[in-house]
Symmetry: C2
Subunit: 221 residues, 2 copies
Amino acid sequence: MKKTSEKEVYLTIQALQRMPYYLHCLEKAEEDGIQTISATSIANELKLNDVLVRKDIAAVSSTQGKPKSGFQVEGLIRDIKEYMGYNDHKDAVIVGAGSLGRALLGNSEFEQYGLSITAAFDISKDLIGTAISGIKVLPIEKLESYCAENGILIGIITTPMEEAQKVADVLVRAGVQAIWNFAHVDLELPPQIKVENVHLQDSLMMLSYNIHRNEGTKEEA
Amino acid sequence: MKKTSEKEVYLTIQALQRMPYYLHCLEKAEEDGIQTISATSIANELKLNDVLVRKDIAAVSSTQGKPKSGFQVEGLIRDIKEYMGYNDHKDAVIVGAGSLGRALLGNSEFEQYGLSITAAFDISKDLIGTAISGIKVLPIEKLESYCAENGILIGIITTPMEEAQKVADVLVRAGVQAIWNFAHVDLELPPQIKVENVHLQDSLMMLSYNIHRNEGTKEEA
DNA sequence: TAGATTGTTAATCGATTAACAATC
DNA sequence: TAGATTGTTAATCGATTAACAATC
């Protein structure tokens, strides 16, 4: 079992999910002109255990922290970004130029995560040929050839749920590596394809539950 | 420590997060005309351990499963919906009628989770007075009074991140119980206020990581 | 120096899984 | 009846936390 790189520390999924929070926290610190930061203070800020934060950071940081002062804010930001793959440029297409698709197209923040959306696809004759936030809307028939020819890595699905699986199949045939799925279905995909689901309904469900429980236990106080 | 209701089984956060998946699975079964379903088959479908599924279901189901046949699909759907609070009607407002806000306003699926969006708020003179998907856009100055007077339970924040905290403060003053936050900031809120964050950036980060790792370990095969 | 902070090893805690008796 | 499936109790597993020596 040979290592593929000098540092091959795998984070648990839980630890991974904390990374965005560390990054937010560090970027806020950087804005405030703070140069070094301790795991302890990050932990306090995020209401996490300090040893937990120290372990997570140790796994991604290229340098050790210094007792008394902590970690270099700037270096740590760089390390997390590198670890998370922000520095890789990733071309993406968006399928479904409805209101959600348009909202994503208008979001310029994604560029800083290495994501560029290079084209949008739709079935609507009215939309085809137009440009949304500077990005052309092409007919869905061209999806497969476009992705294959342009080496598109990520397909973003913002179609109605009925179309999502069909679109996913086309994207896979065209060679995308990952799918960012906003349609409210669980896609059936070959195991090598990475998926990230954004299911607003599930999020709403959690919100609903919290309100519900809250009301049910009012008498507790 | 007296119980507030006959069934006071608290699910772990992990179990809660599995509920939407059970519900999807059950609704699919119902569509296919299946009347009873076993925990084992749900577990297979969702690639989970069967005992895990059985425990989760036991916690929310009002009836016991029958050996050999399993659970009533319809009853179980009803129980999960009840447990998660879908049956409570919840009025909401949306703050920020930009592209994301508009996408949410156009989403009629939310109604089935008990959520109705009754008004939208924005600062843009061009938008104020117009209606989006049949919902009026009001000036942001009216947010507090509107929520207080109409007993709004949920505030949905789709503003730019700079405005989000300010908006949240107003919503809290106006008496909302929960905030569905789409702005990329962690809001500071009183402890009794429930928040559900939808941070697309974090989701994108996970996608980015998965692609990055995938490429880094190609030689593994 | 003293003390804040680091990283590591061991203990704890809690979720998941395995084993098994009960039952339709 | 036989066997699929249930629910429960005990074992396992893995993540988090506690304790502590090292160090700037």
